[in-house]
Subunit: 163 residues, 2 copies
Amino acid sequence: MPYRPFTDQNCSIAAALSLVGERWTLLIMRDVLLGRRRFADIKRSTGIASNILADRLEMLVEHGLLKRKLYSDHPESYEYIPTHKGLDLNPVIIALMQWGDQYSAPQAGPPRIPVHTVCGHDAHPRMHCSHCGEVIENGALNVRPGPGATQKQIYEGVLPKRA
Amino acid sequence: MPYRPFTDQNCSIAAALSLVGERWTLLIMRDVLLGRRRFADIKRSTGIASNILADRLEMLVEHGLLKRKLYSDHPESYEYIPTHKGLDLNPVIIALMQWGDQYSAPQAGPPRIPVHTVCGHDAHPRMHCSHCGEVIENGALNVRPGPGATQKQIYEGVLPKRA
DNA sequence: CACACGACTTTCAAAATGCAACCAGCTCCG
DNA sequence: CGGAGCTGGTTGCATTTTGAAAGTCGTGTG
């Protein structure tokens, strides 16, 4: 990773981005979550340089988002399969996809449509409130300091203002 | 932005990441969405170098995620306020925060807790299926080719495999 | 046997990042 | 009134990362 670490911001977003915030990392995770799990496949589909891909994969394995698994000997080949931690990035990827669909989709429409495997229908996943169950609209979310907040953060007021 | 563009992948995730996939961009958007909207505030809270911050802000304004607004003359100061396009990144930021909370939270607990302003309660936003309304569990999402998919993508099979 | 994978590693130039210093306009303080 | 300090940057230069191409090494194939 580049020089300036995101550590010591006491922020889960910064913490998350310190693992997956680098230019290629989420694109690699996209591939892995979509089922492209071999070095050459990921390289082809992303266009990443092989040295960078090797670095990123090693990093992702080190941090427990992926596991490197021997796929077959003889033509010795490996698969990078997502761990639970890696799979849990799905909501991030889906959110990015929906944002991309909304603002950068090709004229023809979105290239991929999510399908809910449980009910079998097209799903346009939406965030719902765990308390009232309603869809959470655009600006209808604030944050309040949690148990891990520092005094400084509380003092500075980490609360969002509406646009 | 760095060299290799993410264009021509015909992928909304790649398209999204080509705007916000750079190391600092989502961290800047976090700040703006949390209400830190002035140059010096963002610089302080992220620790980013000022030349980089100036570049990124200009880029974000150019691509319509932020607007630069005169906040007061005389001490001439500006605010970077999110546009609709910028606000719509909220689900991405929230998803990152939840992932960070789950895997990198400080011992004390999460630093921030989301609150649903409509019902007034703590919200742990979850993705729900727009068709059946159920929570979408970990691996319960596939994708199918949409109208914008290329023949090549369809041929290659963009469907995910379960872990 | 020549050539082609697959999964990398190595080499080296080019580009992005980070740091520090600087600048200009204003304003607050003694 | 002089100086320190804030705001919102810009400029220059060294460091680090990236990217492109080429090489490696162990198969496997016609």
